[in-house]
């Protein structure tokens, strides 16, 4: 094949060809720009003017949170924030270098904040947003402050008073742990959710957090025209995007039950929790954790002092004891033991273990709480008098792993996926668990330990909600529902009407119980409250069949038989009461837990009685909570709970 040598002339020809091509391309480009800048200039000039609009966010109204009957628990109230607009300020600053200092001095005077703090806030908040966005320097202005600032609006045009919506919990601490609170979005949340922007307020706990995507709504925008120097001219109305308000949420909580339960804890200066469930669908009718925090504190700008008050509170007011408090169940666990024993055939409804006040199991002597013993006990009587010996026997026959199997099915040892954050699972021991968590290197579970678990002591720990789930299962014949605090979510439609989304009831576990076993357990629980010598007589409601079980949990180990009330507060027993009514057609489950309450029958049962009376007042002639009494309302609105003192 011939090889053609390139020559200089041919190369130059190619260079020239390319050059002409480039000239043509440049002419074409210049022509295109002529078309845009010459021919179409007017069109684009109009668009550019519309574009000199700056977007000002209009925050969406957060959805309301109401009780099951529509009583508003969380709403939004108008408040005023102070914003600084750097776009307006820039040219003014050029003319007057001292302007920022003068402005800060003025604001310091009006807001009664030291000027150094104002300077620090300015630098911090200004750094968060681009210079084209106004930043907030103060919140919750009083009307007097607003008036003073507006009076100087000509001298300081860069200062805007912005009407904003402030989250308001009308009843202060009421249902605080269920409602939760809101706060400014954090970096982690920003990274996880693209819909969020710096400075947004979002739910941080409780329903506010769990249902945040419904409550939040969608922010809108206003467009304001500015000239090239950054002076604000007027709003460009056609571009306005109205915000879409958040969905309204109806809780399953019943205002009256919630209120009565909270008052009981406040009036008796008790620390503890109460859970009221509907055993037919898992709706939470009341959930109390006392003492509670005031969520309104969180909707405002934090001062170091408020933060300190919250974190340093000795009663851990942020803890939702109903789902996060872990306690030994004590005698209320005997209900689980009775169900497991009867279902497994370890005991029959007629099986009778004699009780002589103590018994020897696996080489160790265990005492019944009653020194004299209970004599002849079958399952009904064992529940009624809370005989320990009977359940030691049952536990010895079942073994710890069978107990765990039943406990798990009743949600002990696992979370029930209630629609609240931070639910804890507690612990149900087993041989496998011990193998994974050996005591001083010993991985063996000793049968004698099973005896303690049989009466709800030992490593076994539960939450009040789990006890309520279990009680509901006994009440409804073995179904464990996924408990929930939200009943429905109402979404506003384009035409202004609401579309309702119901939170469904879901069965998460089912325990097979023979009718005879169920009858025996229910009879025993009815006896606890209604029969002579039952431990729960304080919950008796004339005209209503209440069934229940008391429990007292030793906080410290003490040997022998000691009268609990003789001990100092922090060493006193925890008190439990788990109950449902009406016994033959259960519609309501009440579980009360009082920390260091002493005895379940004396301290926890009266609240159950109060709640049953309230709920079934038509039947038993109870009274409604008087909310028209202004004194009561004032107390609710202020919201700061008197903290229980050590007795």
């Amino acid at each position: 094949m011939r090889v053609y040598r390139d020559d200089q002339k041919f190369l130059q020809f190619r260079i020239n060809a390319v050059l002409w091509g480039i000239v043509a391309a440049f002419v074409f480009l210049a022509g295109s720009f002529w078309f845009v800048q010459g021919v179409q200039a007017e069109k684009y000039r109009g668009l550019s003017e519309a574009n000199a609009l700056r977007e000002i966010e209009i925050p969406a109204k957060r959805g309301l949170i109401m009780d099951r009957n529509g009583k508003i628990l969380a709403d939004n109230q108008p408040a005023y924030s102070l914003q600084i607009d750097r776009v307006v300020m820039k040219p003014l600053l050029k003319a007057d270098k001292q302007r920022r200092q003068r402005l800060e001095a003025f604001l310091s005077l009006v807001l009664e904040i030291p000027q150094q703090e104002l300077t620090a806030r300015w630098d911090k908040e200004a750094a968060k947003l681009p210079a084209t966005q106004p930043f907030t320097i103060a919140e919750d202005l009083s009307m007097a402050q607003v008036a003073k600032i507006q009076a100087q609006s000509i001298a300081f045009p860069e200062v805007h008073v912005m009407p904003v919506q402030r989250r308001n919990y009308a009843y202060g601490t009421m249902a605080a742990h269920v409602l939760g609170f809101i706060g400014e979005v954090g970096d982690k949340e920003l990274a996880q959710n693209e819909a969020l922007e710096q400075g947004d307020l979002i739910g941080k706990r409780g329903v506010e957090l769990m249902y945040d995507q419904y409550l939040r709504g969608k922010d809108g925008a206003e467009f304001w025209e500015y000239d090239a120097d950054g002076r604000r001219l007027s709003e460009y109305v056609p571009a306005r995007q109205n915000p879409i308000p958040g969905d309204n949420i109806y809780l399953t909580l019943d205002f009256e039950l919630q209120r009565r339960a909270e008052q009981y804890f406040i009036e008796n200066e008790m620390v503890g929790a109460a859970v009221v469930l509907d055993p037919r669908n898992g709706e939470v009718l009341a959930m109390v954790s006392s003492p509670a925090f005031n969520p309104n504190v969180y909707s405002k700008r934090f001062t170091p002092e408020t933060w300190k008050t919250i974190t340093s509170n000795p009663f851990k007011i942020e803890l939702n004891r109903a789902i996060q408090g872990l306690y030994s169940p004590g005698s209320v666990f005997k209900i689980v033991m009775a169900m497991a024993g009867l279902s497994e055939g370890a005991v029959g409804p007629e099986t009778d273990f004699g009780c002589g006040g103590s018994g020897v199991f696996f080489g160790r002597r265990f005492r019944c709480w009653k020194k004299e013993g209970h004599g002849s006990v079958d399952v009904e009587r064992a529940l009624k008098v809370s005989c320990d010996i009977y359940f030691y026997q049952t536990g010895a026959r079942l073994g710890v792993d069978k107990i765990k199997e039943y406990a798990n099915r009743l949600t002990f040892g696992e979370i029930s996926h209630i629609d609240l954050d931070g639910e804890r699972s507690g612990l149900v021991p087993s041989t496998k668990w011990r193998a994974e968590h050996p005591v001083k290197g010993d991985p063996k579970w000793y049968p004698a330990e099973t005896i303690s678990v049989s009466i709800g002591q030992g490593p076994l720990i539960v939450t009040p909600l789990q006890v309520a789930n279990m009680t509901a299962a006994v009440a409804n014949g073995g179904k464990v529902f996924q408990p929930h605090v939200v009943r429905y979510v109402d979404r506003v439609q384009r035409d202004g009407s609401y579309k309702r989304f119901r939170v469904p009831s879901r069965v998460i576990h089912e325990v097979e119980l023979s009718p005879s076993a169920l009858r025996a357990v229910r009879q025993g629980l009815w006896d606890v409250v209604n029969a002579q010598g039952g431990t729960g007589g304080n919950a008796r409601v004339p005209g209503l069949d209440v069934a229940g079980k008391t429990g007292s949990v030793q906080v410290i180990a003490y040997s022998g038989w000691i009268k609990a009330t003789s001990l100092p507060f922090k060493f006193r027993d925890h008190a439990w009461f788990a109950s449902f009514a009406p016994a033959n057609n259960p519609q309501m489950v009440v579980v009360v837990f009082v920390e260091h309450g002493g005895a379940g029958g004396a301290d926890a049962a009266p609240l159950a009685k109060l709640l049953f009376e309230s709920r079934f007042r038509d039947k038993v002639g109870g009274t409604r909570l008087d909310l028209s009494n202004p004194e009561t309302l004032e107390q609710i609105k202020e919201g700061e709970l008197p903290l229980p003192t050590t007795r």
Binding site: L19, F26, A30, S32, S48
Partner: protein, 366 residues
Amino acid sequence: MIFRERVTPNVDLNFLGTAIVLAIIGCMLVYSATFFNEPNLGTFKRQMLWVAIGIALAIIILFVDYHVLFDVAPILYGIGIILLIYLLIWGQLTANVKSWIRIGGFQFQPSEFMKVFTALMLARYFDSNDRAYLDMRSFLVVMGIIGLPVVLIAVQPDFGTAASFAPLVAVAMFFGGIRPRVWAAMILIVAISLPIGWSMFLKPYQRERVLIFLNPERDPRGDGYQVIQAKIAIGSGGIHGKGFTRGTQGKFGFIPEHHTDFIFAVLGEEWGFVGVVVVLGLYLYLIVQAMTFAKHARDRGGTFLIICLISFFIFHILINVSMQIGILPTTGIPLPLISYGGSSTMMFFIAIGLIANVDMRRFVNA
């Protein structure tokens, strides 16, 4: 010794001056685009520094005979390849791309400097190859020289920069010479591989870009938004423009990337059609001068070095200016000497220095 050559009187000051005028216009535009949001003028000051360093580099390069550079070209090329491999293995992700190397407080993109090294390598090859048409072996060598860095950059994955090596391929084929029947074969291959590449190699966001380019209304608030806003800026500038720092599109942030890829839109807004024509004229003048140098170069290597380097300018200018008004889709390709950016400003000034270098030594007995 290089100083004995006394070459400085032969430097074409018109050429260097054109480049410097463009860089000064660039600094003014960067100021105009960023002063509003950046009271400390950090971006503007950095760009001034890059331009100063770039001019210094261009002048230093004048003193080194480009034949010496041909001799060390394989070493430079090798260092560049090593840096690119280093990036792939140890590089840190910035905006999902591993393209930056940090040394102390400074960071740079080796891929930008790789453009110059590849051009040197290619010119060196053509210096000794004077066939009118590339045979298969030399074609593969040329494609290998260009292909290696392109592949390494494409897997960073920085497709914009990888694509900016395309002018070298065009130079190699058009000036290196390809037989007509090979042209036909290649066109056929491209026609077949285009749909395959579309479905297999383009990432969804890249496909979306092409689709939005074909129909900007597809996404007026997203990718198409950039072009719409840039067009509004340019169009509203009209014939005379709104005046220095008087544009609203740029400083209020309506044009994204207003100091880098879309800086030409700021020019169009503030200086109008007059400014656009002046800048395009300066660019054309720069290109015509460089092409004239190429014709008069002392040897084939010099000619090819100039053509390779100026092809980068031509490619960047045509693509960048076209995308401002939506003639071509939006890609991350900066405007030579004007867009903000350390690595690219320095790279283009080095290229300017090399082109002047070749021109300076056009006389055999200088």
